[in-house]
């Protein structure tokens, strides 16, 4: 409302000071400005109206994940990956379907990795008329959110939630572009027993959804890989002293220790183990394959392993290009799930390419995208090629095991599971 008078003021001042230029003071400007101010107002109003008009070709894609707090790195990284994908498509003129050019807009909300807040903000995305969603990041919140998206028929692709339960609820709307804990646990077990040759394995987890889920899966896979579990211990996710558990493990003389949890505890855990004189390597999951781990464990990080979904970054076709663009835009390196989120966004946008964006009807758009996403077959993404099975899991998952060498994770082995 106050925009117009302000515009006049600005124009009047501008007119006054621009007297020195060759285009001299133009009396018409005074009359022209209210007009343009008015038209700006009208344009804004029209834009608002347009937002609800059926022919609007801008589709909203929701993002839900941690955008602040302890685990914000994961969420912001994934959000940035999705944003990059959308920016690329938009700058290329969007997606064409039957003569309509659809462009996209990312609508990010924070779930704080919490079930209650996740459900609330999932509802917010529904209100915002998103046509599909990328997220959540951690499994518990993701599962809580999946109910809301399922109720509203919105396709949800998580770049990182690995708990098997997420896709096992019978929801037709739940997808993920990462191998689940069962697959990863098997990979980790095989790597530990077969590749490293460590037969006696101690398993430790932090009793979180993610940590325990992965550790449980490793627990079942170790014997079938030919290894033996010599100890199974747990930490409390708020604890700082792990020496009691480590001492017990030390007494069992394992060849390797598997830890399911996050780097915040894995770092100090490794240091405390070394101080206790435990020299065997740690094998960990994707929750630890990041710079926090190497920072927290310091010199003790070297020689330990962590697996992560997808091929090593230097093996991803086009990763260098991706990372250059990512860094140019966000002035930081890819942290974790940005490539997966990038792919998830592209899968959604290519679904629009095949099935359309509903021609302005949000419900139709949701249904069309959902159908096309479910039918995704051999979609070549940055990370890998994706085909969803009937549950929403990917049929083939690739994992890479990394080793810390002088403070950095270096890929040592890629493992592909599935058919």
């Amino acid at each position: 409302m106050i925009a117009a008078p302000l515009a006049i003021l600005a124009a009047a001042c501008g007119g006054g000071t621009s007297g020195g230029t060759s285009s001299a003071c133009n009396p018409n400007a005074v009359s022209a400005v209210p007009a343009s101010g008015g038209s700006a107002l009208a344009a804004a109003a029209t834009a608002r109206l347009m937002a609800y008009k059926p022919s609007d070709p801008v589709l909203k894609i929701g993002f839900i994940g941690m955008l602040a707090g302890k685990y914000q790195n994961y969420g912001i990284d994934a959000k940035n990956g999705a944003q990059l994908a959308i920016d690329q498509i938009n700058s290329a003129g969007g997606v064409q379907y039957q003569g309509t050019a659809y462009t996209f807009q990312l609508d990010p909300v924070d779930d704080n990795a919490d079930a209650t807040q996740g459900a609330q903000n999932a509802q917010k995305l529904v209100d915002d008329q998103v046509v599909a969603v990328i997220g959540g990041i951690f499994s518990t919140a993701t599962i809580a959110e999946s109910k809301i998206f399922n109720d509203n028929g919105i396709a949800q692709i998580s770049p990182s939630a690995t708990n098997p339960k997420y896709t096992a609820q019978g929801f037709k709307t739940a997808f993920r572009v990462i191998g689940n804990d069962t697959a990863q646990g098997k990979t980790d077990a095989d790597f530990t027993v077969k590749t490293l040759g460590c037969k006696n394995v101690a398993i430790l987890d932090d009793k979180s959804t993610y940590g325990q889920g992965l550790a449980d899966s490793v627990n079942t896979s170790i014997p079938s890989a030919g290894g033996k579990i010599v100890a199974r211990e747990h930490l409390d996710a708020t604890a700082s002293d792990f020496t009691a558990q480590l001492t017990t493990i030390k007494g069992k003389h394992p060849d390797a220790i598997f830890y399911g949890g996050y780097s915040a505890q894995a770092g100090p855990l490794t240091s405390q183990a070394r101080k206790l004189g435990i020299k065997v390597p740690f094998v960990m999951g994707d929750g630890c394959e990041d710079s926090d781990y190497t920072k927290l464990a310091g010199a003790d990080a070297d020689g330990n392993f962590a697996s992560n979904g997808g091929p090593a970054q230097n093996l991803m076709s086009g990763f260098t290009d991706f990372n250059t663009k990512f860094k140019a835009k966000y002035s930081q390196d890819v942290f974790q799930y940005a490539p997966q989120a990038f792919d998830a966004a592209n899968i959604i946008m290519s679904a629009v390419k095949t099935a359309g964006g509903g021609g302005g009807d949000v419900k139709a758009a949701r249904a069309a995208i959902l159908g096309a996403v479910a039918a995704t077959k051999d979609y070549k993404g940055l990370v890998q090629s994706y085909t969803f099975d009937s549950k929403g899991d990917i049929t083939t998952s690739i994992f890479t095991v990394y080793k810390v060498e002088s403070g950095n994770f270096k890929a040592v082995k890629a493992i592909t599971t599935g058919p």
């Binding site: 211990e233 915040a264 101080k275 310091g298």
Partner: protein
């Protein structure tokens, strides 16, 4: 049944038990130092200073900041490490003392005549504030110090005592004895004991109560600063460790007999041992029903049993002999 027996025998080795004892004492020495702050304040004011754990947490961040300034690494020479650690300790003590003093002045003093519940709630508010402050303006991530003062003394089998652990134990005992002397010998200490025994009478006798209470907070908080340094030598920190560490230290103070200085020390060690041994052997003892994830349950259960059955603690003699 056989399985249970196997579990029981397989888990218990002399090396393991010795190592767990060392773990427990190491942890306990930090608890004991934090416990002193609770104990002194409770003795004088009958108030659980809920924010004390967070003062300790702030101390750990001060230690991080100071050592970070000097760029200590695991390979730094002792000639650098020792003065920097001393500086870090002094800085942590000073900052914690200022903080403790301020908290008392702002959040507790106006409520001295209010119902019991009021200062407790105000303390919760302070605790929230400090945690959120660190998370917002300093860091909401986890942090560790590099492995300083590496090296150990071999004890038995492959069990050894690290220099850091010796340092932790020695400094906590030294602090404790020093504090005991302070309370026994100085006029300030006499004032504290007098206020603890009978506040009105002490005031009538010319004890400046505000001063005594301020000093109690300052000393207790400074000790939390020492505890912060010792903690950082062995463990990691983030903005929320103060709450759990504080709670356990409070449990230690109660177990030892609140208001009692050697009691706080004893309680700290007992709790540290209970936690370590509990986490290590509960699975063996309970036939695999309970796992080491119940670690915190032991601390709480110990505290609850203590409060219910022997609220006066193990050492009954108190700074105040109030009936």
């Amino acid at each position: 049944m056989q399985r249970c027996l196997d579990l029981l025998t397989s888990g218990l080795t002399p090396e393991g038990i010795l190592q767990q004892l060392i773990n427990g004492v190491t942890l306990g020495s930090v608890y004991a130092l934090i416990a002193l702050g609770y104990s002194m304040v409770y003795g004088v004011l009958e108030l659980i200073n809920f924010a004390h754990g967070d003062v300790f947490m702030i101390g750990t961040f001060v230690v991080l900041g100071v050592t970070g300034q000097f760029g200590l690494t695991g390979r730094s020479s002792l000639a650098l490490v020792i003065p920097v650690l001393l500086l870090a300790m002094i800085a942590a003590m000073a900052l914690c003392a200022v903080l403790g003093f301020t908290i008392e002045k702002v959040a507790y003093r106006p409520l001295r005549r209010a119902p019991r519940l009021a200062p407790l709630i105000s303390a919760i508010g302070v605790s929230f504030f400090l945690q959120a402050w660190i998370a917002t303006y300093v860091s909401s991530r986890d942090h560790t110090l590099p492995n300083l003062l590496a090296g150990d003394i071999p004890l038995y089998g492959d069990v050894s005592l690290r220099y850091v652990q010796v340092l932790m134990l020695v400094s906590s005992v030294v602090m404790m004895v020093g504090l005991q002397q302070l309370v026994r010998r100085t006029s300030l200490g006499r004032g504290m004991r007098a206020v603890a025994q009978d506040r009105e009478a002490a005031e009538l006798m010319g004890v400046n109560m505000d001063r005594v209470i301020s000093f109690t907070f300052i000393i207790g908080s400074a000790l939390a600063g020492v505890a912060a340094l010792l903690w950082m030598l062995n463990y990691s920190t983030n903005q929320s460790i103060g709450f759990i560490a504080g709670l356990k230290a409070f449990a230690a103070a109660v177990i030892g007999g609140i208001g009692n200085i050697p009691g706080a020390m004893l309680g700290g060690f007992l709790l540290g041992l209970a936690e370590s041994l509990g986490a290590a052997y509960v699975s063996n003892v309970s036939c695999g029903i309970f796992s080491s994830a119940y670690e915190d349950v032991f601390a709480f259960a110990f505290l609850i049993l203590m409060l219910v059955f022997r609220p006066s603690g193990i050492i009954r003699e108190r700074v105040s002999q109030r009936a």
